[in-house]
Symmetry: C2
Subunit: 406 residues, 2 copies
């Protein structure tokens, strides 16, 4: 890595200075040992905030309320989040409830309601059990390492927790960036909600912060929504509270580049972990397309490979069916020159000039058996590169999703 | 149906006058009882021909050779087709082989090579075994009911044969239209190839014939390619030889409308049968979206529902998870008014105004158990309607596709 980015041990969203978090079990999810379902991420001082939301035409009122809050001002103190209920497709009640959740959180931590964002994930079409939330919001205790609880409070069908923090040196000052996420952008539990909360104690110029988050999301979470599914609740929030007291980071500077690289590093880590955690997944698929005419072409092709059910089942079955990979590239209708195409599976080349070359089949079968499978298509016509992440498609996915609410 | 369209008993692509077909087993597919893999559809006289082809960036040379042939002239005598080998991703040899197959077919039936189109379907990346094709082309015997053999010669993983013919009365003259197809536009065996051959003895003006085929494909096969997969070999060909001796059918006439309705009827029948025959499918999903702002919006939304893995698994599991249906509509980002949305499963309404209404759950579970499941979303904001077809997603799909070539 060309940038000097230090990974923090046991890093989480409260690793940066001036962030605290906490979570409780309020009864929104079915009970279980250690389960949490209502949490808060709080900055001790107003934090410049950037966010990206689902483009779905049908949005959770929690998303709409947060989006409107950001229009009213981008300095925020907290995010309140619940799992177990998406607060979606419940009519006007959803807006009323989202605003009350915000209000309850603001009262509990002693800030203005305009400074609190709200996120929900879980079952759709069922009203939020506000009685439970009212009863438990006040019991949330915040702590400096509360990110470790908060990450548990946002999961639904996740099998592993996703969190990371890093530090960088900005003009002699160490600043940290942390993040947590839940869900899988690809194999979608109950509306596929992807939630991600990032924090930093860096002092960052607001417009640059927003641009940095959007750029990081584009090469991470947006390369994970490989079957174009987007939930009604997808949200990624980045809060920067400036507690590190560095000189403000701005666009077009070496510090800005380093900061953006660190944010992107965390976002890609979280996205990869989400792909790995896809329902029923046995393998992470890392799909890279190089040498397309444009980056947009490469992005389309990389996502098409990682999302193709035929590629996903072939990877699951350890079947070096490179024809499916070519089909997935071609179905995007991007311009290419078939005679220049090379295909690699975990760096073993199996296609040259658009046609199969002799390769050791058993080596490829073994490569396809690894927990991370790298599929790479070199188009060799331009400079557009992109990577997408997905996972294999297994019987377990079908079993799981054919009986989620019943 | 507002049009008077008669279904012909045991109808097939050779039901219209002046069409013959035949097929043999040449060894391209693994042997089996009754298996055929090389066939011909022949018109006794030059037929006006229209065709649509895959938009995949990577095309089988068989597609490219046929497309170029049509640019050179749209009156054709025959289509030669093989299954078991897609003649794709084999470099320059593929073009050489496609042209030789055309030439062998033309010689056998005594027409000019420029009058013969070629289609291939099957394994990708393996050169056509030309020795087998050379040895067997001359043994194909044509007959008036040869459509019943030809339909067997085009199948790959299909579990059922797809064919239909109808007749209509055009100005006092009975004309017939027949069709056969293979594959599934949705759940894609080995590159998903969809081949469809339609024939008619009607005398039809060439431009109107082409427009009619394109319009019919748009509301049938193109509403089946619901996961946006398109194979390298997809082809639909319609030949009109005028053997019925009717006055030429043209655009903007009642006869033209009737003819278009009959072609569409066959195309939709074949498309639905292909959805029903999806790999591992246990049910046909008929997804209709009404009242969108535009037909384009309705088409996107209908396809999104029918292709959503979460909807497909929910239908398989008889899970009335209407939230997934709403998510699938919304993820297209089409404009809508959530408060006007209604959702019906086999005509049982379960959503009104974007939120669940009380319904008898067991009735919906039973409806989801039928071999044909009708999902209908009424957006109630405009006049755009569309229907798409798909099938449920089962463990069998995963098992089948994770071990196709190995």
């Amino acid at each position: 890595m060309p940038f000097d980015i230090q990974v923090l041990d046991n890093g989480t969203v409260t690793s940066p200075k001036g962030f605290r978090a906490g979570a409780v079990y309020s009864g929104l999810k079915t009970p279980g040992p250690g389960k949490l379902d209502l949490g808060l991420l709080v900055s001790d001082t107003p934090a410049k905030t950037a966010a990206t939301f689902s483009q779905n035409s049908i949005l959770s009122p929690s998303v709409t309320v947060s989006r409107e809050s950001l229009k009213g001002g981008r300095e925020k103190r907290a995010v309140v989040v619940n799992s177990g209920n998406a607060n979606c497709a419940v009519g006007e009640q959803g807006f009323k409830d989202a605003r009350e959740v915000v209000s309850l959180a603001a009262d509990h931590i002693g800030v203005d309601a305009s400074e609190v964002l709200v996120c929900s994930t879980g079952v759709i079409g069922v009203e939020l059990p506000m009685g439970l939330i009212r009863a438990h919001m006040g019991t949330i205790e915040l702590s400096d390492d509360g990110g470790n609880d908060l990450v548990k409070a946002i999961v639904t069908t996740d099998k592993r927790l996703k969190q990371k923090a890093v530090s960088i040196n900005v003009g002699g000052v160490t600043v940290s960036i942390g993040g947590i996420s839940k869900g899988s952008g690809m194999i979608h539990p109950n509306m596929a909600t992807m939630l991600s909360f990032l924090s930093t104690d860096a002092n960052v110029e607001q417009e640059f912060l927003s641009a940095t988050l959007q750029a990081a999301v584009d090469v991470s979470f947006n390369m994970l929504t490989v079957d174009t599914d987007q939930s009604t609740n997808d949200t990624c929030i980045l809060m920067a509270n400036g507690a590190a007291n560095n000189a403000e980071i701005t666009a077009g500077t070496a510090e800005g580049e380093l900061f953006a690289a660190a944010v992107t590093d965390i976002a890609i880590h979280l996205a990869r972990e989400m792909a790995r955690d896809g329902e029923g997944a046995s393998k992470l698929i890392d799909s890279t397309v190089t040498g397309a005419y444009t980056v947009a072409d490469a992005r389309m092709a990389a996502r098409s490979i990682a999302s193709s059910p035929l590629v996903k089942t072939a990877v699951y079955g350890r079947d070096p069916n490179w024809g499916r990979i070519l089909m997935a590239v071609g179905k995007t209708s991007i311009p290419l020159d078939e005679s220049k195409i090379q295909v690699f599976i975990n760096d073993i080349q199996i296609v040259e000039g658009g046609a199969a070359i002799p390769y050791h089949v058993e080596s490829v079968v073994q490569a396809l058996g690894r927990p991370e499978v790298y599929l790479r298509v070199a188009l060799n016509v331009g400079d557009g590169d992109a990577t997408a992440w997905g996972c294999d498609l297994t019987e377990e996915y079908v079993v799981f999703n054919s009986a989620y609410t019943t």
